[in-house]
Subunit: 306 residues, 2 copies
Amino acid sequence: MSRALPARVRITEVGPRDGLQNEPQRVPTATKAAFVRALVAAGLTEIEITSFVRPDRVPQLADAEELCAALGPPPAGVRYVALVPNERGLERALATGVIGKVAVFTAASETFAQRNVNASIDESIARFRPVVEGARAAGLALRGYVSAAMGCPYEGHVDAAHVVAVVEALDALGCEDISIGDTIGAGTPGDVARVLDAVLAVVPAERIALHFHDTRGMAVANVLEGLRRGIASYDASAGGLGGCPYAPGAAGNLATEDLVYLLDGLGVAHGVGLDPLRQASASIENAVGHALVGRVYRAPAWPLGE
Amino acid sequence: MSRALPARVRITEVGPRDGLQNEPQRVPTATKAAFVRALVAAGLTEIEITSFVRPDRVPQLADAEELCAALGPPPAGVRYVALVPNERGLERALATGVIGKVAVFTAASETFAQRNVNASIDESIARFRPVVEGARAAGLALRGYVSAAMGCPYEGHVDAAHVVAVVEALDALGCEDISIGDTIGAGTPGDVARVLDAVLAVVPAERIALHFHDTRGMAVANVLEGLRRGIASYDASAGGLGGCPYAPGAAGNLATEDLVYLLDGLGVAHGVGLDPLRQASASIENAVGHALVGRVYRAPAWPLGE
């Protein structure tokens, strides 16, 4: 490559949370736990395993406590991440004793925030304050999600200035890891450039993660653009979990295998083994009731003899 | 974008040939003709419509003469391209009176050439000579395909030096348009960089087209890398024709809609309308008997209100 890319990137595996949350079928807790263990075996060190939201809101993740109990503490060097919407969620996460990082969730679009967290962007950030303080007091790391950053299903175009405002607020709150999400998979590398030009003027690249959905087949190219701009942290979902091959337009996350294949091809280190990663995806495929959509997951092994 | 991309690219639509050739179901000639007309209506100006190979070898394209007769001469500014394996094929193509460009086909891998054109690479190129002379005498433009350029299903890794040797031979023969193909969809932007570094040292970017298959989801990112290196000509297949959602690993071409969506997002001109292009793809979807796999084709329209 003509331009220096990061030598190494961190992959945050979001399949057990963002992936399964978007699967219609509920997966048994034991299957989830085996899946998380297989992800660890594949080399993933940052795994978002569940969400401590109201069980009736996201029935797929209603077994958050049971999953944590089944897993126990992560092995050395591995961190389990959980989405936490409020103080009650933080209490639940802390009570498990296995969560090393909590993630809060807001959006770059007012309408998206209203419909997803039932608050304005400012209200959602105000609501994070006690969560952040409690998490920090407990020694947990903090991640913030900025969703709908490259397009909103209700508002359409989203100005980079809105993304910057939310990123700054999350930065001020103390989130050391701010994940900018193209939640509806509308963005192209042009949008990645546009948003990062604005964001990197106020927050260093080391604090930024990118979270792409592959709805329009742009996710891998968007990662390439992110790499060129020095971003070294990407979210992905094993097997493309959360996308459905039979539902046109179903918005799956970037598949972890596709991300790994790209990084291998670019010579960028990441620590994940493609073959055991495929096995992890295979371990959950039956439970979700449909073929996983990840391209590399479904393609024949390459190089030959691998 | 931080680096200048080509202001405009040419898209060669290969759905009617490379796409349909890889579809199990035969499509009626009238449906093909309507499809080609719809592609023209969408703004495509370079369309590979068929192949003058032995009808028993590629039954899906056995109606080459009938399709040309049904289409008649292309509108002004549009060129119909046909694949021509030998002098007999050239005679047939010339007899139709509607073909403006002929394409010859070889590979960067000896085993791939043997299995696909039943000749060594050198033999295949020697065989082109009378085709090229006949085509030039008739005033036709010339395209050369170098397949398996980023990986061979039989040999594995393919050295860039092999690609360069074939590109040079096609250049010496007089092909003004040399399409380098990642036939099995194994390449990443790292391979694009590696191959183009070698090729552009001997042939100018203006002569080179890139032809990607999306088997492992890398095609759009590979185009992005090609654009950054000044390549302004890309092959694609409407709707991702030729790929099958139900056959794991089926190697579809890069979908034209995905290419157009990327280029629109980057502000690179191409002359194709996404909405009429989608309609062209829809016109052939029933005839191939399965849902087309193109991501943008299947996704909801974006931006909103489009």
